[in-house]
Symmetry: C2
Subunit: 463 residues, 2 copies
């Protein structure tokens, strides 16, 4: 019997995890695997780019989890610089173009994996395509930015960077450029940076960034990228002001890259992401799979689909798709919306719903915030942190948690993430048996302190 | 109406938390609160003693959460150096002795809180009471040890310490004495130090301690404390060898201090701890409460009662007792057996059941161990860690997790602690939405990696 063919579009986290997992389960005589990657790199950690640009990670290759040669040695036919340009559903085939040669061919498939990822938001502003404006989505993007940073390091004098957008990428790039000796201005249109937090918690990030010497302009939409006589970016303009810069970095987030899928008539949700079932099969299509940054996932707290571009989900999706194509059965139940990041020594984390999300889905809730420390107060290195907790009125069910603070703050969000997954109430959380010793936690862990206050708020709200 | 009287025996975590919480809920005209403490200190962090002795915490007073004066200002009549010597249940009164004056009086109560804590295990060995043998249970113990350490620092030459017992206190004291410049030998009768871990995980601790220059003698019970001509301890002997030392520190764990309760006929469990209901009321006694190091708690995983001396439980118990005496209603559902500690830069954590515990309660299980890192492998400061996971056969329910590794390893046990509380299977855990960014975690968190391997082991075991 001729082997089946698994065709993967996109050679990054989801695509290559799916290919690897399927190969583990089925040998080449049962399953042929072809993967198409239009860029120069496959299987790399895009999340690591800010740290490479910032100099904490020295070599680009450190971000590459597995080289094309390593994939090929495992009988995965990974074709670099090869772009899928059309999906023919009726013919069960994909048109593939050799980007360098310009040649095209049709490749048939038995199982198709769409792992096309996301593309950075790039608003149609005057000057946005000028040289000197950098994205940080791909290793190629990172290399281009790093080349100019390293060149500018040789020229004396103060160097300035403007970062457009104050979300995860924006604050991570602010840290990277501070590390490179730049004077950094972050321009964000929201009331506070980190719109993935409630504004009161975002305000803490704003304050801390000011303390690090990062100028953060709030409530200001960029209207234009300013260019010099040679057409090169020299800063940005908002309605009220101009900000000069040697480099402009775009950190406005990403949208699902689903042009191919849309053209083929595959089902997209409101976010623009592909709609899949729990097994990561594209809805209504038995042998088409998708995951990672180009799909919608179910938020288990709100019950609504949403688009989240995050390497950890992408890897899980790939694993699940590969297991299913390989003859197993695996599912992805959904997310609770956990994210963690840092800017210099400030850790920023969230899980579940923000206040506005909870309100948007019609939930009634109470919120509390508490101040505590990462370790016993008397233990060296204890850092302060603020924990905000949102719980449903009456039931007391945990709806969300946000944490901003020093070292040791960020990963505490996992406690709340597991509790959310389990549907725990804040009252139940007060009894959690968390690890305690003075170097690790105060005798009441900060999450327990927040849960106690939230439980009291739920009780008080009832009476 | 005359106020009710709440009488508290023991002025530490449970006792003073109970007093404080009750006072928050009831004013002095409703509730009189008397607390008896036989020592020189109240409301202190015994868990912090090793770090004070080791010099990371400079002042003893940093360990004191609230002074007697602060308690008294809140209308809590805390009587220091006052020991309860008898409980008269029929008369609803307690005999109290002024330790310094030697006088005694009977104090009546409406509500009695037994917070007598634990006492260190002190086997009846020759020489055990010699000068130069130190416990580390109380601030007085810590001060006595510190006095001799600081005196010895003035005398030149290599100083040697022997620590009897390789559990939490033992390894924490090993770190403390290394920090003080001592050559440290830990003598433990188990096959590996840290008998709160399975031996394979304890072996990692042993290896790491060797690397830190801490001699760890395994499988060796101390038979005698050796003394010099002046009757002062000069080392210890086992069956096979002698170990010379300038100081001998006892770290053999603790037992519930329940002599008073036993004499009064209150119900004790097999561990010697008081038996309470979920509200922390002593079984069968409407107005007698107990918590902290002198009670048994329910292990939610095994369904069995056990004795665990840990400040975080003691504080929770006090809070609950105070709420209940104050007219509210609160309960302590039980523990999952979480503990975290460190020796120098090695973090050690566990939750749930060890293999031998699971076997003892008749559970059938599979185990896996995995190696991973605390951060993305390419990110600076990524430390290796080993995670061991135990899951029930067939059901796949998580039974326990042990983690040993570098910075960032220890508090990851909280993920497993919450999952245990929620009764999750390892399969469910593979989908947990944990915080991911390169400075915080590999794209698969170490706990997810272990859960995946455990889930595979459960599946393979079925087929």
């Amino acid at each position: 019997m001729a082997p089946q063919r698994m065709l993967v579009i996109g050679g990054d986290a989801t695509g290559m995890s799916a290919a690897s997992q399927a190969r583990r389960l089925k040998a080449a005589d049962e399953l042929e695997i072809i993967a198409l990657e239009r860029g120069h790199f496959a299987s790399y950690s895009a999340c690591g780019i800010p740290y490479w640009v910032g100099g904490q990670v020295e070599a680009r290759d450190a971000l590459i989890a597995r080289t094309p040669e390593e994939h090929r040695r495992r009988d995965i036919d990974l074709r670099m610089r090869t772009e899928a340009t059309e999906i023919d559903l009726a013919g069960q085939r994909v048109r593939a173009r050799d980007v360098d040669a310009g040649t095209e061919e049709w490749l048939g498939f038995d199982q198709l994996v769409l792992a096309t990822g996301a593309r950075p938001v790039r608003p149609p502003l005057p000057g946005i395509d000028a040289p000197g404006v950098y994205g940080v989505q791909t290793l190629d993007d990172g290399q281009a930015l790093l080349d100019v940073l390293e060149k500018e390091e040789e020229t004396p004098g103060g160097r300035r960077a403007v970062i457009v957008g104050g979300g995860y990428i924006g604050v991570e790039m602010a840290e990277a450029l501070i590390n490179r000796g730049y004077t950094v201005t972050v321009v964000d249109r929201g009331p506070q940076p980190m719109s993935t937090l409630d504004p009161d918690m975002g305000a803490l990030v704003h304050e801390a960034m000011c303390g690090m010497g990062i100028e953060t302009v709030r409530g200001a939409a960029v209207t234009e990228v300013l260019t010099d006589g040679g057409g090169r970016a020299r800063g940005v303009a908002t309605e009220d002001a101009e900000y000069a810069a040697d480099v402009v970095v775009l950190g406005l987030g990403v949208r699902p890259e689903t042009g191919l899928a849309r053209a083929a008539g595959l089902p997209l949700g409101e976010s623009g992401g592909l709609r899949t079932d729990l097994a990561m099969r594209v809805r209504g299509h038995e042998n088409i799979w998708s995951g990672g940054d180009c799909v919608e996932v179910l938020n288990l707290v709100s019950g609504r689909p949403q688009h989240i571009a995050l390497g950890t989900h992408a890897n899980k999706h790939g694993q699940i798709i590969g297991a299913n194509i390989g003859g197993g059965y695996a599912t992805f139940p959904g997310v609770v919306g956990t994210a963690v990041s840092k800017v210099c020594d400030l850790e920023i984390a969230r899980t579940g719903l923000l206040e506005r999300h909870a309100a948007a889905v019609g939930l009634q809730f109470v919120t509390v915030t508490t101040e505590s420390t990462s370790r016993a107060g008397y233990y060296p290195g204890a850092r302060s942190m603020r924990v905000k907790m949102i719980a449903e009125r009456r039931s007391g069910r945990l709806l969300g948690t946000q944490i901003v603070g020093g070292e040791g703050a960020g990963k505490r969000v996992d406690i709340a993430a597991v509790a959310l997954t389990a549907g725990m109430t804040v009252e139940q959380m007060t009894a959690l048996d968390l690890g305690y010793a003075p170097p690790f936690s105060p005798v009441w862990d900060p999450v327990l302190i927040a849960a106690r206050k939230a439980a009291a708020a739920v009780r008080d709200d009832l009476t």
